[in-house]
Symmetry: D2
Subunit: 235 residues, 4 copies
Amino acid sequence: MKIIITDTYEEMSKVTAQHLLGYMYQDRRVNLSITAGTTPIKMYELLVPEVKAKSYFDNVHYYNFDEIPNRKEGREGVTISDLRKFFFTPAGISETHIHKLDHNNWQQQDEQIAADGGLDVILLGIGADGHYCGNLPGTTTFADQTSRVECDAAMKERIGRLFESSDEIPDYYVTMGPRSVMAAKHIILFASGTKKAEIIKRLVDGSVDQAIQASILKMHPHITLILDKDAASLL
Amino acid sequence: MKIIITDTYEEMSKVTAQHLLGYMYQDRRVNLSITAGTTPIKMYELLVPEVKAKSYFDNVHYYNFDEIPNRKEGREGVTISDLRKFFFTPAGISETHIHKLDHNNWQQQDEQIAADGGLDVILLGIGADGHYCGNLPGTTTFADQTSRVECDAAMKERIGRLFESSDEIPDYYVTMGPRSVMAAKHIILFASGTKKAEIIKRLVDGSVDQAIQASILKMHPHITLILDKDAASLL
Amino acid sequence: MKIIITDTYEEMSKVTAQHLLGYMYQDRRVNLSITAGTTPIKMYELLVPEVKAKSYFDNVHYYNFDEIPNRKEGREGVTISDLRKFFFTPAGISETHIHKLDHNNWQQQDEQIAADGGLDVILLGIGADGHYCGNLPGTTTFADQTSRVECDAAMKERIGRLFESSDEIPDYYVTMGPRSVMAAKHIILFASGTKKAEIIKRLVDGSVDQAIQASILKMHPHITLILDKDAASLL
Amino acid sequence: MKIIITDTYEEMSKVTAQHLLGYMYQDRRVNLSITAGTTPIKMYELLVPEVKAKSYFDNVHYYNFDEIPNRKEGREGVTISDLRKFFFTPAGISETHIHKLDHNNWQQQDEQIAADGGLDVILLGIGADGHYCGNLPGTTTFADQTSRVECDAAMKERIGRLFESSDEIPDYYVTMGPRSVMAAKHIILFASGTKKAEIIKRLVDGSVDQAIQASILKMHPHITLILDKDAASLL
C-alpha cells in the first residue's frame, strides 16, 4: 500500500488527476472506473481541460461502478448523471467510450469488464462508515461480485435527497461488489477532511472485518491511498 | 480466478511445474515463494531435471514462506529442510539464491521481499481445514503480515511428528501472514485428492470468513487454482 | 537479450514449448504468433498433448506471420497448411482462435493485431541467410509493416518445391515486416544445428544491417534466443 | 508508436511532465533516464514544484544517458551540471538517487542499469540532424551499447561553447548507445518547433538508416512522441 499525503484538498485532487493521466496516456486501450460524489469535484475540474478535445485519449474507456436508478421512465440514474455533469459532458467524452452500469446490465458487468481486458484502475472514495461504491454496511459481503441491493425504508430515506420527487426513488440499487473491485489491477482510494480521518486510520491499521466494508481493500496487492493531511491526521 | 482442472495428481504436478517455469525463464530477477509438504513432491521431481545445472535460471530467487524452527542448536527448521531435500539440493540451487525465512529474520521478511522487488509468484498448498502457509485456524488474522505464532499444547502435538525427539519441538513458528501472501503479484494454489474437495468448494463458492483462512485468497486479482479432478469433484 | 543454450534439438524444443506454455496459462486473452517450417516440428509434437482438449487454454489466440498463397482456388496457403498439419489439427484448436494472415487481409493485419491487444509473443525461426518470416534479403526493409512481396523467377523457383504443381505457385507472398515483428511484446527466436551457427554469431555479435534481416531483432528490449549447442557453437 | 500533438511548447512540456509523473507515482522502484538541453527547460520548471520535498517520490531513481566530461579536475561534466541546475538541485533530489554516467563508469552503465531493474522510461530530445543522446551522425552504430566517442576537431568546436575555457574541452565523451536506449521499457521522445519538423517527419515516415541515428527508435515496441504542432507540422 502506497500512502500519499498531500497538504490540501486541491493538492489531493491534482495528485489523483495525475495518477489517472498516467494511465490514460498509454498506447493501448485503458479501462478506468471512476467515482461520482463530492470528493472528486475538484479533480474533475482539473481533468476536464486536460482531456477535452484531445484525440490522444481516444484509447480510454470509462465505467461507473454503481448506480441508483431513477424510477421515472427515461431518466438516467444518479451516478451516471453525476459523472456526466462533472466530467463526461464538459470533457466531451464520446458516448461509445462510456460504459454504463445500470439496472438492466448489472448481471453482465463482471463478465463484460473481464472481456474488455479488466479494469486498469478503479478510483474510489470512502464514507465515514467505511462504505465504498454501493457497498454499505450490511449490504454486500466480501465475496460478492456486482450485486443488486434492495433498499429498505432507511436506505430510501438516505438516498431520497438525491431525487427531485419521491416517485423517483427506486426500490434497489446496483453496485460492483467487493470482489469485483478487488479484481481491478490497481485501486486508488482518495479522501479529504477530518471527517475521514477515523475511517482512514481504521483502514490502514485495523483488521479486515465485514463490518467495515473498506477494510478488505488493504489486501489488494496494488492499492494507493491519496489523502489530504486532515484525512491522514490520525495516521 | 483461473481454475485449471487436471485428470491426475501427475498432471496437476506437471501443469504447476510449467507455471513456475514460465516465470523462471524471464530475463530479469524472478522471486518465487514455494511450498514444502506432500502435495509438491511430484512437482519437484519433475522440476529438478529441468533446473539442475541450467545457468539460464540464475535469475531465479527462492523464498520460503513459513518455518517451524528446530530447538536444537545448529539445526535448520522443518520447511527449509524439506525444500532442500526435495528441490534445492537435488537441483543444485546456489545458497545465494535461497532466502530463508526463520526465527531470526521474520520481522524483516515483508520489507526484504519488497526491497527485492516483490514476489512474482507464491505457490501454496491448502489444508482440509483451510490453512495455507502457517496460517492455521485461530492463529493469524487477515490483516497480519509475517508473524510469530506461539504453539500451545495442541499445536505442539500436531507438529511433534515432524521432529525426531521432543526436545527439538519449538514453542513457536513463523509464517508469512495473509496480507504478505496477498502482496504477491500472482498466487498459485494447487490441491489434489478427495480430501481437499470440500475446502476447494468452500474456497470457490463460499464467503470470505476469518474462520476459513484460505477464503481470503479468492479476493486476489490474479490467482490460479490447479486441481486434480478429485480435488475439483464438488465444483 | 537472454540466450538459452540447450544440449540438443529435443531440449531446445522442450524449452521453447515451455516458454509458450508459460504465456498460455495466463488468465486473460493471450495472442501468439507461431512459426511453421522444420525447426518447430519437435516442439509441436511436445505441445500437442499438452494443449489438446484442454479448456484452460481457451484464452489463447493464434496468428500466422506470413503466407505463401496457393493460386488454385479454394486452397489454403503454405504456412497455414503447415501449422494445421503440425499443430492446429492434432491439437484441436478451434477455428475461431486461428487468425489467418492471407492475401486478402494482409493490409489489415497490423491494425487488427493492435486492436486485439497486440502480440504477447512471436516465435521465430531463422534462415542461414538471416531471413525470418518472409523477410528475405532484398525484400522488405526494416521500417516495413505487413507487406506484399512480389516473387521474381528466383523466388518462384525457391518456393516452387512447396507446391504440387507449377500452376499453384503464386506471384507474390505476404509477411509481417520487421516493424510488425518488433511490435510484439516478446520475441523468441530458436535455432538448431551447425548450419545456423554462423548467422547466430552474426546476430549476437554483429552490426544492425539491412543486408542481414534478422540483425534488427537484437534491438528489441525483450528478446530470448533458444539455441541448441550446435547453433550456439560459434558464440 | 503513439503520437501526441500539442498546441504549444508549454502544453508539450506539461504533457511530458505528466507522463513522467505517471511513472513516478508507482509503488516500487522506478528508474528514469532524463535529458538535459533546451527542450526540457519548461518541463523541469513544471516538474520541480511537483517533486520538491515530496517523500512519496522516494522510489524514483535518475540516470543521465550521456556526459561530456570537463577536463579540469574536480569539475562535473556538462550533462549532469545541466540536470542539477534545472532539476536535481531545485527539486532537492537526494544524491543517493542520482546515478551519474561519467568517464569513469561508462563501461559498467548497461550492466548496472540491468542490475537495478532496467529503465522504466527514457526521455529523449532529438536534434535536427537526427541525433539523440550523444549518438551523433558518424559516431556510434545501431548495435552499440554505452560507448566512448573520440572528439575530432569539428566535434571539439561544436562542444566548445559548452565550456568556459578551452582547457576544459575533453578529447571524448560518453553516451548510451542505440542498443542501450532501445533496452528501456518505454521511450518518450519530445520535440518542439519548426526546426524539428523535418526530422520528425523523417523519423515517422522514413526508413531505418544508420545515417539518421533516431530512425532506429521507431522500431521500439513502446515509444511515444510528444510534439508541439510546429514540430508535427509536416506529418
